[in-house]
Each structure stands twice: as C-alpha cells, then as structure tokens.
C-alpha cells in the first residue's frame, strides 16, 4: 500500500559500460526491465549516431524474417509460437545468424522464382490448349454459316481455312489467335477496326473457365479470339495492337493434323510440368518447414537486438572511447538488481574490466513509477488518464479504489443490477487467464481491463441497492416493515385517544383514494427499519418526495466529505515537499472556508435529522432558508434550529471572510518576505533553513561531481536547472487565480455532487418504468394466456435491463463518477504533471510478428 500512496523514489544513475560488454549488459538490463534510458544524443540526428550500422543490419534481418514469415504463412505452414522468449543473441552468433538467414533467403527466392516460372509456363500451356479447343469451333462455325463463297464456288464443301485455297488466290491469308482480358475486348475490336479499316475478320468467344493471369495472379475471365487478315503490313499492325492490349498470342495451327499434333504435345508437356511443379513445391515446403521451426525465436531475438542498439545509440562515449556512458533513471529499490544485471552482463561477455554504475545527484524531476498489480492497475489507469502524477506526489489511485466504486454505486443503487454486474465481472476475473479473453475485441478488452473495477462497482451497487431497498425497482421486505396500517383504524384505539387524533374508519377508507399514515399515532410507526429504506415506501405515493429529500442531503454530505478529504490530502503533499508554509497559508484557510460554510450545512442537516421527530416536525425550519439567512443577516426573527444560532453563524461568517484574504495574499507575501532577506521572525526560520541547507548540500555535491567529471560540464548543461527567478507578480497572479477558483469551486463543486442524487433518481425511475410498462403488463394477463405471454415479455425485459439499465446507465454513471474524481476531488490536491517511467524492457516489445517495437 505504501508504494501506491506515493510514486517510488528514483535516482539518476550513470552506467559505465565497457565497449566490449555494453551489448551483453544491456541485454541483461532489458531482460530485467529496471531502468529508463535518457537520450544523451538528442541533438544528433538519427542516422549520425554510433550504432546506425548495427540498427541497419537488424532492419535487414527483419526484412528477411518478414519475407520468410510471409512465405511460410502463404504455404499454410503453422508457425510454432508460445516458446519462452529467447535472450538476445550473443554477438558471435549474430553473424552466423545473418549468414544463415541470407542463405535461406537466396535459396527461397530462387526456388520460388523457379516455381513461378514453372507455373507461368504451365498456365500458358493451359491457355494454349483452351485456345486450340475453342478456335476449332470457330472453324466449324465458319463452315456452317458461310458454306458458299460466291467467288470460290469450289470451296463449297471445303474448310474456308484450308490453306491451299488461299494460295491459289495469291494473297497471303494470316491468322493471329490468342487470349484477351474480358474487359478489353470491346476497345480491342474497335481499334482493330479503325486501324485496319475492316481488312480483318475477328471472331471471339468467351472462355467458360476463368483462368489465372500469369502476371498478376488474378483469376479472371478470358476471351479467345481469332483474327484473320490479308497482307503483311496489316499483320504487323495487328501484332502491335495485340501487344498494346496485353493479349497472349499463340501460333495458330493451319491444318487439322498440325492442330492435333500440337494438342498432343501440349498435353504431354503439361503432364511433365505438373510433376516438376509438384516436386518443386515439395522441396519448397521442406525448406519452409525447416525455417518455420526457428523463425519465431529469430524474430524475437532480432527485435531484442534492435532495441539494444537503439538504447546504445542513446549513450555517449567518454573521451578515451573505451566505454560508453549511459544515464538511466532507476527506482532506488531496484539498484541492487541493476548492479546484478551489470555484473551478469560483464561476466557473460568475459570482459576484463567490469561495467559499473554510480548514482549522481540531480535537480531534474525524475519520472513517476507506481507499481501496480492486476487489481490496482485499472484504478491507476483512471487516474493516469487525467494526468500522470508528479514525482512523489500523493497518488489518488489508492483512495479511488474505494471512493470510485462507491460514488458509482450511489448513482447505480440497485441490488439486482449490481448483482448482475458483479456476476459478469466475477466471470471475467475467474477466467482472466483464458487466452480468448486476452485476444478479444476492443470493447470486450475494455471490459476485461476494468474487470476489478467492475467487480467492486457491482459489489458496492449491491450494498447501495440494499440501502435504497431497490431490487429491479422493487423493494424487499426482509425484516418486516416498521409501519402498521391497522393502528390507524379507530377500532384499535381507546375512545379517549380517538378524539385527539384523526383516525380512519370504514367510510374514510372507502371514500378516499389516498390516505396518509400518521406516525404520531401510537402503534403506527414502530421504530425504524433495521437497514436501509423501509419497504413500505415502495407502495407510498409520496415515495419520491421522501427519497429526494434523503438522496439530496446524502449527496451533499458525501460530496463535502469527499472534497474535504481531498484538501486534507494536500497537507501530505506540502509536508513531503517541505513547504510547510503552504499548510498554514493555503490549506488551513481552504479548510476553514469549506468547513465554515458547507461543514456547517452538514451540521444543520444532521442536527435537524436528530432533533425533530414526527411529533414536532411541523415546526421544523427549512434548512435552505436558514442557510440563505445566514448570509443575509436577517432582521426579521426566524425560529432558528437552536438557541444562539445567530452568534454561531456570525462567528462562522467572520472566519470565512477572514480566510479569504489569507488565501489570496498569504503565500505571495510570505514568499516575498523570504526573498527580501527573510526578516527576523524566528518562528518560520527553522523550517526554511532546513530546506535551504538541504538544497545547498545538493548543490555542493553536484559541483564536486562536475569537477570530478571535468569534461562533462558541457554535456550536463541540460541537467542544471535554470535558477528560477523570483517574480512576485507572477506568484501573486497564480495565487489569486487559485484562490478565486477554489472559493467559487467550493460552491459549484458542491452543486456538482448533486449529480449523485440526479442519476440515482433517474436510474430508479427508469427501472420502475421498465417494470411498469413490461413485466406488469405480462403479469396481469390471466394464467392460461399469461404463460405464453410472459416468456417473450420476460426475454424483452431481460434484454432491455441489460442494455439500457446496465450498459447505458452504467456507462453514464461511470462517466459521472470519473468526472467527480477528476474534477471535484483531484483538483483539490493533485497536479498530475509528471511523466511516466517507461523502463527499457524486452517484455514491452510486442510479441506479435508484424507489430512495431514499442521501445524504438
């Protein structure tokens, strides 16, 4: 718990890494994940750094690995994953690994290239066979449709395409045939027509099978065409056009025998190609299988190596170039671990001189580290979403663990809904190690990360539900109601009593629609319900009036307590940062201001609850009026809650009024006084000198360190904070703004807590409406029909309950609870101006294959 209250104390450490063992040391550090590196070469652009070559090599390896993974997944070979993460490869192995990978890549590329070539060949042959098959039907068709040619009557029964006939004509008849993309046919034909001016005959038919395009690998529809033309000139043009449209041209057999021959030849070649292709594929698969065994660990190894070089790039060299100097932030508690890691690294590399570290004092603000576990993680992230805490500041997450679910539950008070939410969260918690939950979708993952928050929210809702006595908008009569209706009847009382009280008899009950129970009648109210709200209120028509008064007052009390708590937490900050004067000059006036106004309001609320009973409640004054009158100094006589109220209120007002100028001017004036030679009041002096001495020590330490380092003066320039100049005007302005914000905030924030009441009211009403509109309708139908009707009604009720009341209302209550924490609670003490401690850790590298590494 102590670690959650404040962030861990950090120290700046300098690591002297022998250049021989730097890599191993960083590898050990990365496995341990203890330190955050600072960039010492900020003004050096990324490609002028020391280890760019190595980073490039890693990138080259990564490229090969990506290629390998791509090929392996394409071949549908399972990638063995889940192996414990292998350490970064030792430097000696890197070269070997690189060679292996490069060899593998070359081999793979060659084999795949061969395979592609074979495939392409095969495809072409297949296309050719298809073409031959289809064009044969062209010829037949020609025969059928053009049986007579007027000029050549002798051809009547001959094939038009018989070559010998053409020779007789003296003109050379040429054929070009091939395949063309389906989409290009029309444009192709048009251009042919335009260029050749109709001296060609184009026949084409769609291929019924879709074939793969050898170039793009797309499966598309093709057209087979046959162009017949006269003359060589046109032939050239036709060829060019075919090229332009990327047609696949194949020689056209002139005679039937030739065609048959070619077809036979083709089929045997296709057979051959198939077998060769199979063999190549088998071989490829073997190679890939072998590669797949080690590829996962290789990927992890290369990622780690790259991360190490990125970190090394942040180090600076010392003058002798023999060792690297790194500056790291390290939690003080982890210093022994850091030393061990360095030792381990030096040992592994077998370096003669061990790498070592020393801590250096610094005035810079270290990063914030708050160690969390599964349970506290979610709450911490709620706080971090507002702002990462300043170094060593009080961490509100600790208190958020309880206050957040509680404030949520105040708005979400329903036993049934809370229980459903609790069950859901419990399921998530029980199965939190289930792999499917970890890799779930975005929304589900969100729920999963907040499972412990949900769990507590559910539990607290059950509790507030019990207090409100609400379970799916119905009340539960567990202990028996404290009210007794029969006592209101005149028959149960003696005649003497009957005269003094308004009692009921049969006619009264019959004639009135609404009757009021009178708690002052003996026997009607038999003492309060042991826990929560009396269930009888669920039947009352004035239930809302009663609950509103209760919930409103409750939210004001809760809100003021919450805010006061926040202000008190500020004291811990001031004590820790050795600014005691802030307590006297800021926190105490703030507290007085808050308590004298709103603390008094709470007092009045509680006082009125205690003093007035059913008997004298008619005389009770309104708190609102009393409260307003407190500021107006009423001349008219008011009844007042207690005697001497006027004087008490006056005193409180004076205290409030006095605390405002102290808040406004106290701190600036004090600082001004300190600055101008700090007068001679002995009281404050001791505290101040303590601060002063401490910082002087630090400064002197820093100075001696710099002298030791000698050369590092220039580099460390950034470490020395510029001495802040005293600017009275600025301090005054900040303080004035702060105090005005605080004083106004007290009022507006208190009003803001009324959302607790509003939302809980809305929730109760909504669930009531759902019950009245759905389930009650279902329950009213008579028994025979009712069973049939109740089933769908019940289902609808369940669905609406989950989606509207649990998810939607839950989200809105969640948001409001977050707001109450971020704005109303945390602005009382929390700065949230820190930076998060991000250690150099291999576990933060994404373990997925194609993810980017987070460290770089």
């Amino acid at each position: 718990m102590g670690s959650l209250f404040r962030s861990e104390s950090m120290c700046l450490a300098q690591l002297f890494l022998q250049s021989g063992s730097a890599y191993e040391c960083l590898s050990a550090l990365g496995e341990a994940g203890l330190v955050q590196f600072r960039d010492l070469n900020q003004n050096v652009s990324s490609f002028q750094r020391k280890f760019v070559g190595e980073v490039k090599r890693c990138e080259e390896l990564e490229r090969i690995l990506v290629y390998l993974v791509q090929e392996i997944t394409r071949a549908d070979i399972p990638l063995p994953e889940g192996e414990a993460s292998p350490p970064a490869p030792p430097l000696k192995q890197v070269l070997e690994m690189q060679e292996q990978l490069q060899k593998l890549e070359v081999e793979l590329r060659e084999v795949t290239k061969n395979k592609e070539k074979l495939r392409k060949n095969l495809l072409e042959l297949i296309e050719y066979t298809h073409m031959l098959r289809v064009t044969r039907t062209f010829v037949r068709r020609n025969v059928e449709f053009e049986p007579t040619y007027e000029e050549f009557p002798s051809l009547e029964n001959d094939s038009l395409l018989d070559y010998s006939c053409m020779h007789r004509l003296g003109a050379k008849l040429g054929f070009i045939s091939g395949l063309i993309h389906q989409g290009k046919v029309e444009a192709f034909e048009k251009m042919l027509w335009r260029v050749c001016k109709g001296y060609t005959i184009v026949t084409y038919a769609e291929l019924d099978e879709a074939l793969e395009d050898p170039e793009t690998g797309e499966v598309i529809k093709w057209y087979v065409f046959l162009i017949s033309f006269w003359g060589e000139q046109i032939g050239h043009k036709v060829k060019k056009i075919c090229d332009c449209y990327h047609c696949h041209l194949y020689p056209y057999p002139n005679t039937a025998e030739e065609r048959k021959e070619i077809q036979e030849g083709l089929s045997t070649r296709i057979q051959d190609l198939y077998t060769v292709l199979h063999k190549t594929e088998d071989y490829l698969r073997q190679v890939l299988c072998k590669a797949a065994e080690s590829v996962y660990s290789r990927v992890v190894q290369v990622k780690k190596m790259k991360a190490i070089y990125h970190m090394l790039n942040m180090c600076s060299f010392d003058v002798t170039n023999k060792c690297l100097i790194a500056e790291v932030w390290c939690p003080e508690a982890d210093l022994p671990g850091l030393r061990r890691a360095l030792e381990q690294g030096s040992r592994e590399s077998g370096a003669a001189i061990p790498s070592f570290m020393n801590t250096i004092p610094t005035k810079e603000t270290p990063p914030t580290l708050i160690r969390t576990n599964r349970f506290t993680e979610g709450f911490q992230s709620i706080v971090d979403a507002y702002g990462v805490g300043s170094y060593r500041e009080v961490n509100p997450a600790l208190f958020t663990i309880i206050t957040f679910p509680f404030l949520f539950a105040v708005m979400f008070g329903d036993l049934g809904h809370g229980f459903v939410m609790f069950l859901f969260a419990l399921l998530l918690v029980l199965y939190e190690n289930h792999p499917r939950l970890k890799q779930s979708q975005e929304i589900m993952r969100m729920f999963f990360h907040g499972r412990y928050i949900l769990l507590l929210m559910g539990l607290f809702s059950v509790y507030t539900g019990l207090v409100y006595n609400d379970c799916f908008s119905k009340s539960m009569n567990i202990f028996g109601s404290g009210w007794n209706v029969s006592a209101m009847y005149s028959s149960s009382h003696e005649a003497k009593e009957q005269e003094s009280m308004v009692l009921w008899n049969d006619t009264v009950v019959r004639s009135n629609r609404v009757l009021q129970l009178n708690p002052s009648v003996p026997g009607v109210f038999r003492g309060p319900y042991p826990f929560g709200i009396d269930p009888i209120w669920n039947l009352a028509t004035n239930r809302l009036t009663f609950l509103n008064s209760f919930k409103m007052k409750m939210s004001v009390i809760l809100g003021i307590t919450h805010m006061t708590f926040g202000v008190i937490l500020g004291i811990f900050n001031h004590l820790h940062f050795r600014k005691k004067f802030n307590i006297y000059l800021v926190t105490i006036p703030e507290l007085l201001f808050m308590l004298c106004i709103f603390g008094y309001l709470i007092f009045m609320i509680v006082y009125k609850w205690l003093i007035y009973s059913a008997a004298n409640s008619r005389d009770a004054p309104s708190i609102l009026i009393e409260f307003i009158n407190m500021f107006l100094f009423p001349t008219a006589d008011t009844r007042g809650l207690y005697t001497g109220q006027k004087h008490v209120q006056k005193l409180l007002l004076i205290v409030t009024a006095l605390s405002v100028p102290v808040l406004l001017l106290g701190k600036p004036l004090f600082l001004l006084w300190l600055h101008n030679g700090r007068g001679c009041f002995g009281m404050n002096r001791s505290g101040y000198t303590l601060v002063r001495k401490d910082s002087e020590e630090e400064v002197s330490l820093l100075g001696s360190h710099d002298i030791e380092q000698g050369n590092s003066q220039g580099e460390d320039g950034c470490r020395e904070m510029t001495c802040e100049e005293f600017n009275f005007g600025e301090i005054l302005m900040t303080q004035v703004i702060h105090s005005i914000e605080y004083c106004l905030g007290c009022i507006s924030n208190t009003a803001s807590y009324l959302r607790l009441w509003a939302l809980s009211l809305a929730h109760a009403q909504l669930s009531d409406v759902l019950w009245a509109m759905l389930l009650r309708v279902g329950l009213r139908v008579d028994t025979t029909m009712g069973v049939l009707l109740l089933l769908p009604v019940m289902a609808l009720f369940a669905v609406l309950t989950i989606f509207i009341l649990l998810v939607m209302e839950g989200l809105s209550a969640f948001l409001h609870a977050i707001r109450l924490h971020w704005v109303e609670f945390q602005n009382k003490f929390y700065t949230g101006a820190g930076t998060k401690f991000i250690p150099f850790s291999f576990s933060l590298l994404s373990s997925k294959f194609n993810g980017d590494d987070t460290v770089a």
């Binding site: 652009s45 990324s46 490609f47 490229r63 251009m191 335009r194 260029v195 060019k240 056009i241 332009c244």
Partner: protein
C-alpha cells in the same frame, strides 16, 4: 454558378478536400530538407524519408538503392493517392481530374513517339512514362505514321481527342513535327482547361485561372527561348503560344518577334508579374529561368490552399508534390554523384 455553391460543396467534395489538405500537411518541411541535405549516402536519405509521410515506401527495394528507384517509388505513391482521389470524385471534380491527367498523357504520347522514332521498343520506354498519364491505348502509339493516323487510330477515344483539332496534318512524324505536335496539343489543352475552369466559375475559377494563365505564359516564354537558333519560323512560333495567359495578345505578338534573350526580357518587363522573375534570373545562386518559374509556381500553389471550396487544391497538391519529388531527386542525385556544392539549390516549398 449560384453563390450557394459553397453550401453544397462539402456534400460532394468535402471528404476529398479534407483528404487533400491532410496530404498537403504531410509535405516535407524546411527541417526535413535540412536533414535530407545532411545525408551522406542514399541509405541515410532512405532512413530519413522513413520518418516522414513517405513511410517505408522503399522497404521492399533490394540493394543497392538508386535515384531512379526512389523516383519511381515516389511517383507510384503519388499515383496511388491521385487515383484514390479520382476514383472517389464526383462530377465535375472528376472531369477536373481528367484535365489534370491530360498533360501527363500528352507527355507520355510524345515520349513514346520519340522512342518509336529512335526504334526503341515500347517495353523499354514504358517505365519512363509518368504513371499518372497512363492509358491503355498508349502502347499502340507507334502504329501511326502521321498525326491524323495517330488521331484516328489510337487517340480518338481518349480524353486527348478534342485537342487534336488544330494539329491534324499528313506530315510524317519526324522529331521537329513531334515537338510541334506536343506544343500544339499543350496549347489546346491549356486553353480547354482554362475554359473549363472559367466556365465552372466560383472560387475554382478565381484560384485556377491565374495558375493556368501563368502556366500558359511560362510555356510561351520557354517556347520562345527554345526556338532561338532553330529553323522554326516566327509565324509558326506564334501559333504555338497558348492564348489564355496574361501575355495574350500583345505580349505574344512581341514574343513572336523576339530574337534573343534580351528582347524576350524586354517583353517581360512590360508585365508586372514577370518583371521581378526575369530580374531574379542569374542573381544570387545563379538561378535559371526555369528555377525562377518553379519558385513562382510553388508560391501560387501554396496560396491556393488559403481558400476553401474549390478544386484548385487538388491541382496545387499534385504540383507541389511533384516539386517535392524533384527536390528529393535533386538532393539524391547530388548525394549519389558526390556533387555537394549545388545540393542546396532545391526549391523550398513554403
């Protein structure tokens, strides 16, 4: 168009305008250029470009890296972006895009014809063509022997067809004729584009017209400059000048008569816009006329982003991106040829 056109602009083109503005914001900054100039090798350049919006567009390139590889990849990237814009555009923005690509198509056609003249195969030249101006019929360009052939057979169905009306001739296509054809095509293209923008009206006209006017005038100047000492007659020269610029008509007539650079300068001095440009030539850093024109163009294109609800941003973005690519190529050339003295004469995009 109605004044309320701005009201409805976002309905059709708001998404694309948002996209293009985002793209413009990712152009290289001054700091990027300073870093690029410091690079020692092309590998360094690649590493630095990775940190910019280019991302790892060179990741799949095998070593060694060359300037032309960088250039091709950059062009490919631009082409992807523009085709995305184009595919998502509605009329009249899509015809605006067609007009934009026409200039690249003209360049490609001319390049292919020149190649055919030198008996190079189409496959050899294709990679050199600008991917933005690619179209299917392009590869068949070398079928034609004359301009009318070219028009009738190949280009009649492309967006280039309307620009051919002035340059139909039966002359065989030799080098000079091709050059003339290019300039004539460009002239009618620019005029048509200008007319399109003008007819569209609205902010688009206000932004695009000055840019196109400048483009036209620049062409006129360049044509004049290139025709000194060639056999091109003055009358022919005048027919090549696009007539949509500020120089039209008086300036063009004077330019047609100019015989050397000084005379040309004297013509430019008559115009407030061009006077300072010509004075900057040869000034500090030995700028050429081309550089000066580029600088002015960049300035105009950057200004186009100051107004909203118009198509000019798309044109301006492509032009700026092209300038950026020229800059990178220039820097890369300087690095690879170890010619560092001139490395700083890229044209900064403000």
């Amino acid at each position: 168009m109605l004044e309320s056109a701005e009201l409805y602009f976002n309905v059709d083109h708001g998404y694309l305008e948002g996209l293009v503005r985002g793209c413009k914001a990712s152009l290289l900054t001054q700091q990027d250029y300073i870093n690029l100039v410091q690079c020692e090798t092309l590998e360094d350049l690649k590493i630095h470009l990775q940190t910019t919006a280019y991302g790892n567009f060179l990741a799949n390139q095998t070593n060694p890296l060359t300037v032309s590889k960088i250039d091709t990849e950059m062009r490919k990237k631009l082409c992807q972006e523009v085709s995305y814009f184009r595919n998502h555009s509605l009329e009249p923005l899509s015809s605006f895009f067609t007009y934009m690509t026409c200039s690249y198509m003209i360049d490609n056609v001319i390049l292919l014809m020149n190649g055919a003249l030198q008996k190079k195969s189409v496959k050899e030249i294709l990679p050199k063509c600008h991917p933005l101006g690619r179209f299917t019929e392009m590869e068949a360009v070398n079928i034609a022997d004359t301009t009318s052939d070219l028009f009738n057979a190949v280009l009649v169905e492309t967006p280039l067809a309307p620009f051919f009306q002035d340059c139909m001739s039966e002359n065989t296509l030799d080098e000079l004729n091709i050059e003339l054809l290019r300039n004539k095509l460009y002239k009618s293209y620019l005029e048509a584009f200008y007319k399109f923008c003008k007819d569209h009206g609205d902010v688009t006209a206000e932004v695009m017209c000055p840019i196109l006017q400048f483009e036209a005038d620049r062409r006129a100047f360049i044509i004049t400059l290139n025709s000194f000492g060639t056999e091109l007659s003055k009358e022919d020269r005048e027919t090549l000048f696009p007539t949509c610029g500020q120089l039209y008509p008086e300036g063009l007539r004077l330019l047609a008569q100019a015989e050397d650079f000084d005379q040309m300068k004297r013509v430019a001095d008559l115009y407030g816009v061009y006077k300072p440009l010509f004075e900057a030539v040869g000034g500090n850093g030995g700028k050429t006329l081309e550089d000066v024109f580029y600088e002015h163009e960049v300035q105009m294109n950057v200004l186009a982003f100051n107004r909203q609800f118009h198509y000019g941003v798309f044109y301006a973005y492509v032009k700026l991106k092209e300038q950026e690519m020229r800059n990178i190529v220039w820097i890369a050339e300087c690095i690879s040829q170890r010619h560092r003295t001139k490395i700083n004469s890229y044209i900064p995009i403000l």
